[in-house]
């Protein structure tokens, strides 16, 4: 899933370590999310959105639209 975590983090001038500390996770988690290797849990996604004062869909972009999975 595409995300804008790195953009928001850099906007705040935080390192990955600083963001990790604020969220109570490891730097590896931040790195894995930013490089699209890991989709965070819903509680962590909500915490990230709250920290950057944005909504979850502003932070994590899903291009799925209703009807995309329909066969016809």
């Amino acid at each position: 899933m595409e995300n804008r975590l790195k953009y928001h983090r850099e906007q705040h001038g935080w390192s990955q370590g600083e963001l990790a500390r604020r969220l109570g996770v490891s730097r590896q988690t931040i790195n894995a999310v930013e490089t699209d290797k890991y989709d965070p849990s819903l509680p962590l996604a909500l915490r990230m959105a709250k920290l950057f004062a944005v909504s979850v869909p502003d932070l994590f972009v899903d291009h799925w639209e209703p009807g995309d999975d329909d066969d016809d």
Binding site: G17, T29, Y38
Partner: protein
Amino acid sequence: MTDKDQRISRKLVTIAALSLGAGVIGYFGGYAFGETSVETGYELSMSVIIALAVAVMYLTTAGLVLVGTAVPKFGENVLNVEDAEEIEEMRAMVLNSAFALGSWGAALLVIALAEPAGPISPLHSFLVSAAGIVLGCYFAAVSYRHSDELMMAVNREAAVWAYGLVFCVIGGWAMAAHADLLAPPAPLDVMTGFYALVLLATCIAAGRRGMLKLR
């Protein structure tokens, strides 16, 4: 060359030097043990040699992580972290994980060295080995409790991969042996298989999350 490139280059050189050193020590250690075996009459089968190699791999990794955690300035050059501070942040998880690896490695080493392959009586070997496995599980559980959600996810994925690999490799070997296509695995081979496949599963799970890329 950026700071990050320099850090990664330094890490690669350190790891290569340590691997070379461990290889040389392992070679001469193995040679010396082989010589002793000839004199004492120990029966070193291929199963035992492979089990010992896997056990030493666990013990070496545990030792490296322990030293790296105890001396973070050294650890930042051998562990996959950005700096010494990151080791401090993950200290509880990493330390317990190293204790678990060490306990499991020692357990395999001791069971592999049961008579007639080594000097330890089978009963003592079994008891010490079983204690090592239980102790390892305890440390692994403590490490898991100190893990954040990414590490927990990697642990769960590694368990799934390990199950699949064990089913395919050990199960496949047993099937082929039952059909008289291969010699059946020795009990120690099954044990070594668990160890090696769990290690492989962990590498696969970590690699899929980009955690094997040097930082």
